[in-house]
């Protein structure tokens, strides 16, 4: 299985929409078997989705992503794990161990139900 991560300075890129580098990780039986970097300079939602499809990516781990991009990628049959933050190796380990949804790897305000709905006090 191929998992793609949008990366920047050895961490998850803050915003998928304009991320410029993909890290493709090959995973077999919950173990990493290889990884490579891919330039990700295309800009449009469809070209980004097409690039991920061409690379046979099944899961995308990224930071924030706008709904236009997210919809286009999900329509291509790729599962998105959005709003992830942290160092690349730690994120990959957490994914392999099934702990990616831990609040440690969630962007601030994007993890729990409370986080997802910031409410005005007044």
């Amino acid at each position: 299985m191929k998992v793609a991560l949008t990366v920047w300075e050895n961490r998850i890129s803050p915003l998928f929409d304009c991320a410029r580098t993909l890290l493709i990780v090959d995973i077999t039986d919950q173990t990493e078997t290889g990884r490579c970097f891919e330039p990700f300079h295309c800009e449009s939602p469809s070209s980004r989705a097409a690039k991920l499809s061409d690379l046979k990516v099944q899961v995308l781990i990224c930071g924030a992503v706008s709904d236009l991009f997210a919809n286009m990628i999900e329509t291509s049959g790729i599962r998105i794990i959005p709003f992830v933050a942290g160092a690349v190796d730690e994120v990959i380990d957490a994914y392999l161990m099934g702990a990616i949804s831990s609040s440690k790897f969630k962007m601030p305000g994007c993890g729990t139900a409370r986080d997802n709905g910031y409410r005005k006090e007044n």
Binding site: A19, E43, P45, S66, C110
Partner: protein, 461 residues
């Protein structure tokens, strides 16, 4: 209290002010960790203050600048303020929010840099208002700022509500079908079908069966009843496109239908009542056809109840930039592309063309550009060949000032190239003063390479 003594503002007042402003404000330390985060910042980003404090600014702010060209990073590096940089952020609901960002250094009383401060303003409302303003120039899928089109837009709601027969005249590609659809959508019939049929595309017998349908046994292979377009449009609107192409015989048949509001399917014996609003369109001047005797006068007066004349694109070129923007947005949406816009030179080329195919031709040119330039800006090389040819060969039909400018650009560029882009020598070559050349370069928007010819000349000496 003495008059000359300044009133000392207590420290907590600054916090009160920060909490009351509508601009988001946050500060970071040298490690890019957020050290303060005001109420507006919480609202705009959707991140509660307690979740933001101590976190890296990029994981909270999530803007398109963070990775590529962070304004705060530039401020910290260069020690300079940056004001009103346009950007967007993505909030925790995956919504893009347009913002303008200003950044500056955060210093203590002794001038020591403590970190940076970033203020950002939510521009969503401004964007919405801009869109609403644009909507004033838009009816249905038609956009225009030209006075002639505005007259049509102004009366369109009344025309739509009236249920009268409408005649739309205009050259091919001027948007007759779009206008018909807009009338239908603004009319009380909007929930019912809108059917368009090109009368010029069928021979009489086929057109009759297409419009009115046929009964089983009406002709060979007519094994069962087939309703026509008039029946399909029941309660709605039918557009009879290119009505000027109807044969004389069919004009009589159509006249009877419009007069009696009933029709008879081919092979049928009973008349069927038609509750259909008729819109007719023509790319020829029907009044002239009546004078020439090629179109029935009685049919003309039957359909010419409300007449709307769509001007050709060459008579409303001021609409081209707006139409181009509209088509780019439409194609971006349809194709999932992100073409940013059109370059100045490419737009100049589009403006210098006369568009015999009108708006459809312009739309096709933009679609052509989408094939060749899927991203970034549309530049001249993305446009169809016939438009690019205008650079070197201005058409005789082009407006005189546009044609002259085009020639002027070419002459100046040729002189600059002959003189290895040395502006002074090029000016001598052209027999004009160098400041005149500079003025023309600026006015005509001629883009020059970074080399200016002087450095090369010095080396040669």
């Amino acid at each position: 209290m003495k008059k000359d003594k300044l009133y000392q503002i207590p420290d907590h007042v600054t916090d009160v002010i920060l909490e009351s402003v509508s601009d988001g404000v946050f500060t970071v330390d040298h490690e890019w960790r957020i050290t303060s985060f005001n109420h507006a910042a919480e609202e705009i980003t959707g991140v509660p203050r307690d979740k933001a404090l101590g976190k890296n600014c990029w994981s909270v702010f999530r803007s398109n600048m963070c990775e590529i060209d962070c304004a705060l990073r530039r401020t910290m590096k260069e020690g300079k303020r940056f004001v009103d940089t346009s950007a967007y952020i993505v909030n925790n609901k995956k919504q893009r929010i347009p913002v303008v960002v200003s950044t500056s250094l955060l210093k203590d009383e002794s001038g020591m840099v403590l970190g940076g401060v970033e203020t950002f303003r939510d521009m969503s409302l401004v964007e919405d208002l801009r869109r609403e303003l644009d909507a004033r120039y838009q009816v249905g899928d038609m956009v225009s700022r030209s006075p002639s089109m505005h007259r049509i837009f102004t009366i369109l709601p009344q025309v739509a509500q009236s249920d009268s027969t409408v005649l739309i005249q205009g050259e091919t590609g001027t948007g007759k079908e779009l206008l018909s659809r807009a009338i239908h959508e603004l009319s009380p019939r909007r929930g019912k079908p809108f059917i368009a049929i090109n009368c010029g595309a069928f021979p009489d017998t086929l057109l009759e069966s297409e419009l009115f349908g046929y009964k089983a046994g009406a002709f060979t292979n007519a094994t069962k009843d087939k309703p026509g377009h008039f029946a399909a449009a029941e309660g709605g609107t039918i557009l009879l496109d290119e009505i000027g192409d109807l044969s004389a015989a069919f004009q009589v048949r159509l006249l009877r239908v419009l007069q009696e509001r009933t029709f008879q399917p081919l092979g049928g014996t009973k008349s069927i009542k038609a509750n259909v609003r008729v819109i007719a369109s023509a790319n020829k001047n029907l009044a002239d056809m009546v004078k020439r005797g090629t179109f029935r006068q009685d049919l003309f007066y039957r359909i010419n109840v409300v007449r709307l004349d769509l001007p050709p694109l060459r008579e409303r070129k001021e609409d081209i930039p707006m139409l181009v923007k509209h088509f780019i947005a439409k194609l971006n949406r349809l194709r999932g592309r992100s073409v940013a816009g059109i370059g100045r030179k490419a737009l100049a080329l589009l403006l210098s063309h006369d568009y015999p195919g009108n708006i459809r031709e312009l739309e096709n040119s933009i679609e052509h550009a989408f094939v060749l330039c899927p991203e970034g800006q549309i530049e001249p090389h993305c446009l169809p060949d016939n438009l690019r040819a205008l650079v070197s060969r201005p058409t005789t039909n082009a407006k005189i000032d546009v044609a002259l400018q085009s020639v002027e650009v070419q002459v100046i560029l040729d002189a600059l190239k002959r003189n290895t882009f040395n502006r002074l020598e090029a000016a001598h070559d052209l027999g004009i003063h160098k400041s005149t050349l500079f003025r023309k370069i600026k006015m005509l928007g001629i883009e020059l390479p970074k080399i200016d010819g002087r450095s090369k000349r010095k080396r040669a000496h």
